[in-house]
């Protein structure tokens, strides 16, 4: 107990570590937020006005009319006179004009300038065209307006950031256990010759760093919820819970690196960072195609990769609520933490060093 207190005191006096674990995620998420906020501000969104020119010979126009009715993101009206409409466009009363050729050819979009609204219109038109080309019924195709899409992207980024904040806690785990290892620090030598079992050393190190990490995450969440006012919706408790479990997995990972690799401190930090990056990479955090590849080729890997479990947990939580898939992810994360902590203890148990 006493030692836990001392360990915390030691950890908190390490300013650099505190900065990286506490301040860094907060700064990062603020930057993300700033980048997304101008397009995610829901209240300011007004559907861009566009005009479609009627053409009785077009076979696609009726299809489009049907679709436009369902897309709130666009404000479409229909006109017959192209030249009048063109003037409106030049006066910037409208954002774009859609013209239909005869028969089955797809419509053309005419825009005057470049801007957010223009981009949104372009994206939606492309989306519609694709869905028609692929022959799917419009009902089946989820056409989301760009606002929603942006918000979803922002959410994915926020979740990736939370997952990363969890896993980068591995660094705290590594540093914390290193303090107790004979080959890393002088005081570690002292702890190594003392009557404390390796299991206790690992446990104390985990608990210490977990407390540190939880405080850091609490600050992060306070910042997210009360300063940035990002809305995680009704699943907020689940998001927080999953993050706390993820943090434990990150620490366990860091502890394992500390125990398993007998290298210099810097190299160890490098391995920890590399390890977490690799986990994130395989989990699709840096491009979703990777997760897909792993899912089909070595699905097992996604079950033991904490980053993959975390992203999957967040995803299933926001899409399907706290169901079986979510709880499976949570349990697998706990199992992962437990197993590699035990392996760490086993490794350290009868550890001697070739040199000190």
């Amino acid at each position: 107990m006493k030692r836990l207190f001392y360990n915390l005191k030691i950890t908190f006096k390490n300013k650099e570590l505190i900065f990286w674990t506490f301040a860094f995620p907060i700064i990062l998420i603020t930057l993300f937020y700033a980048a997304f906020s101008n397009i995610t501000a829901a209240d300011n969104y007004t559907a861009p006005k566009i005009v479609a020119i009627e053409n009785e010979n077009s076979k696609l126009l009726p299809v489009y009319k049907q679709i436009f009715e369902k897309v709130d993101a666009l404000d479409v009206s229909f006109e017959n006179n192209f030249d009048e409409t063109k003037q409106k466009l030049e006066k910037e009363d409208i954002i774009g004009i859609i013209t239909f050729e005869d028969d089955m050819s797809f419509p053309k979009l005419i825009i005057e300038k470049n801007g957010t609204s223009q981009t949104i219109v372009q994206n939606i038109m492309t989306e519609i065209e694709l869905s028609i080309r692929s022959g799917k019924q419009f009902d089946e195709v989820k056409i989301k307006n760009t606002y929603e899409r942006n918000q979803e992207m922002a959410m994915i980024e926020y979740f990736s950031l939370l997952a990363m904040a969890c896993l980068y806690g591995a660094m705290i785990g590594t540093k914390s256990l290193d303090k107790s290892l004979a080959n890393m620090t002088a005081s570690g030598k002292r702890i190594a010759v003392s009557a404390i079992s390796k299991a206790k050393i690992v446990l104390v190190s985990l608990v210490t760093s977990y407390i540190t990490q939880l405080i850091g995450l609490a600050l992060l969440f306070l910042h997210i919820l009360f300063i940035l006012k990002i809305d995680f919706g009704p699943e907020l408790p689940g998001v927080i819970g999953l993050t706390a479990v993820g943090a434990l997995a990150g620490l366990a990972l860091g502890t394992f690196v500390s125990a398993a690799f007998r290298v210099k401190e810097d190299t160890k930090d490098g391995i920890t960072t590399g390890f977490t990056m690799l986990c994130c990479f395989f989990s699709g955090m840096m491009g979703p195609s990777m997760k897909f590849v792993i899912d089909s080729a070595v699905p097992f890997l996604n079950k033991i990769n904490p980053a993959a479990l975390l992203t999957d947990g967040y995803y299933s939580l926001t899409n399907f609520g706290a169901g079986e898939r979510f709880w499976t992810d949570v349990i697998l994360l706990l199992v992962f933490s437990g197993v590699i902590s035990i392996i760490s203890v086993k490794i350290l148990r009868r550890q001697k060093y070739d040199n000190l």
Partner: protein, 313 residues
Amino acid sequence: MAEKVIEVKKLTKKYKELTAVDHLSFDVEKGEILGLLGPNGSGKSTTINSILSLLTFDEGDIKIFGEEMTPDALEIKRRIGVVFQDVAVFEELTVWENVNYFCSLYISDKATCEKYTEEAIKLVGLGDFKKFLPKKLSGGLLRRLNIACGIAHKPKLIFLDEPTVAVDPQSRNNILEGIKKLRDNGATIVYTTHYMEEVEILCDRVIILDHGKIVASGTNDSLKDLAKIKEKITVETRGISKKFQDEIKKLKDVVSVKSGRDTLVVNYSDTRKNLAELVNLLEKNKIKYEKIYSERPTLNDVFLELTGKDLRD
């Protein structure tokens, strides 16, 4: 026959090609202070770290309290205290907290642990510095803290690896006194150093190491007897001719004559009336001198003679 606390048999430790400890065998008896004496790099720290199961070794058996020593022999470890050569304290904690921290690694009862912490701090004389952070302490005080951290839990067996390196004389005396007290309270102590005087003052028995091998071992006196030199006479004088030096060499029992800038040292292999003889010879040749005195050889002289190397290089 006294109880053996440590038994080391044929301990050999290699760092790549370098053999740091070479088939070393020795015992440590209960209640004694054993000095491990040797110059830098002679393998003292390596020996201690091997005994403590921190280092792997290539060959050998180590028993402590009659049982084989392993990294998870917690019951043995509980009774051991170690003061490593490098200062090992937490920069972030105060003097008192540091001692308390390391004590708590052994003593789970809070009140006992605090009592022991106070006692250890008192033993090394850091009472006035309890609230200081280590970086505020001078080198000597830091060493004392280092010792307090290693012995606070009242271990039965204590290893001290050069605890007095780079320490001012006052701190050194304080440390040596403290170590004697620990022995008087019943601890067995292994003490490494390359200071001859410390071994002479402190240790009951000495093992002299060089290149990881035992060069000589025994009590202080028996080691001195081992060496050929029995008496050493120093003459403080200037400019003694080569010819006169040769004349001294012809005196009975003279082993060697060494002349420095202001001194002349004459070594004898026996203790008779050497001083009187030498004084006579000097008078006869009308050689002026400031002082002349006779000494028993120190362990340093013994080491010099046994290994051809000076301890303090």
